[in-house]
């Protein structure tokens, strides 16, 4: 197949810089192979999802080196604890992104530059933050997501962005926006539910509650 240059010839070892193509198997089957120590399967999982993991980590951390560290941790953990992925509860992509996000947020919260970062982020306009549809894995999903976020009331969108992309707790978001904590909590909750509804209406599977 012409579009498959990484396909290993018989007898050739796996080539790490061009991932061997085992792109026929499902994510769940990949993880089963990873559980049996298939490095090729891990490489394929990285090929499919590494860019998304790295992209989210970099966005939250604002630092390529730290984002690389997070990406390494996420895939090493998939190697060592593949059973933590439960295919019934969601896709491998969202599992890995949740792992990456948690690690990135931990790093942000322990960083000494935290205060400066928060101040800078608070000054940022919402519009400047709003470029997620660039370079996405799936333009159709991205369009739906940007549409869904665009539908949100400004204060809900802002609260969600500060929490998700800047790694703030909802209490910190409340401080930064000078709003009551309960209000911010509700805005995040309502905004997320609204997003889910818009995505489900748009036929994005996985968002259908």
């Amino acid at each position: 197949m012409a579009e498959n240059p990484g396909h290993p010839k018989e007898g050739a070892g796996p080539n790490r810089s061009h991932m061997p193509s085992i792109d026929e198997v499902s994510d769940a089957q990949l993880v089963t192979s990873i559980a049996r120590y298939s490095e090729v399967a891990l490489a394929e999982a990285y090929r499919r999802h590494g860019g998304a993991v790295y992209g989210l980590a970099k966005r939250v951390l604002n630092n390529p080196t730290d984002a690389e560290d997070v990406t390494q941790e996420v895939f090493l953990r998939l190697w060592n604890q593949p059973d933590r992925f439960d295919p019934v509860r969601g896709s491998l992509r969202s599992f890995l992104l949740a792992q990456a996000h948690g690690r990135a947020v931990d790093a942000v919260r322990s960083s000494s530059s935290r205060r400066a970062r928060e101040a800078r982020d608070a000054m940022r306009t919402a519009e400047a933050d709003y470029d997620m549809q660039r370079e996405v894995w799936d333009m159709a999903v991205a369009d739906q997501v940007s549409h869904a976020m665009g539908e949100l009331p400004e204060e809900e969108r802002r609260a969600i962005e500060l929490a998700y992309f800047d790694g703030c707790t909802y209490r910190e978001v409340a401080q930064m926006l000078d709003q009551p904590e309960g209000t911010v909590k509700s805005r995040i909750r309502n905004g997320m539910r609204r997003m889910r509804a818009v995505l489900a209406d748009a036929g994005v599977r996985g968002a259908d509650a």
Binding site: G90, T169, Y170
Partner: protein
Amino acid sequence: MMTHDEASDLLGAYALDAVDGDEFTELEAHLDTCPRCRAELDTLHEVAAAMGNSVEPTPEDLWSQIAVRLPERQEDEEPPPMPLLTPEARSPFRAPTERHRRRRRITVSTLAAAAVAAAAVAVVLGIGLVRADNKVSNLQSAQAGPSSAVTAALHAPGHRLITLDASSQKELAQVVVVPSGQGYLVSSKLPSLAGDRTYQLWAVEGNRPISLGLLGASPSHAAFTMAGSTRPSHLSITAEPAGGSVSPTGPIIATGAV
């Protein structure tokens, strides 16, 4: 103790990793006991992932940095528990190459490379399986609603239907395998196991059982891949501890000739 409503109010923030301290601890305790909140959280995690799904090109040497950090595998080491084989999870992130594609591209060499790297994985392509169209029709009439993937497999040219019996000749499970090596559990009369046990499916080649994956404690649907250059004589099912076993530890519950 956090009430359900309090927990529910926090799920959005929790899905964004924006809850900390005591609230975090209490919410996790609630999630352990509340399937409703867990289900909502799963969908909120998908929403969060959709927001965070902007792919960046990874630095060129990042994979090799990961690869060199993979722990060396000891020969006698137990692999970590395997995830259950399940129907495809719902997701907006289904890679487009996973279905409806050129099945020929699961080639022996591709999977041989995977098997070599895995050392423990020898995957199997059932070759000499006998078609059993008569059984298919029986099966289809007997089954309320087979999943579309199973139905497609049962209509695929060259598919093989394998019946696994207990020693008493009682039929316990049927499995279909299409020529690409994709296989599905078609039906199961296997009794439910305790929660800390699972059924495990094996391809037996000579005296060597090769795991095809876990079926769970109450098998209903499962998908697996059999491919490679070796030919199993039998498929067998054993009951194993919940994480699965490297080689069978329990007696063979059901077996079927390939």
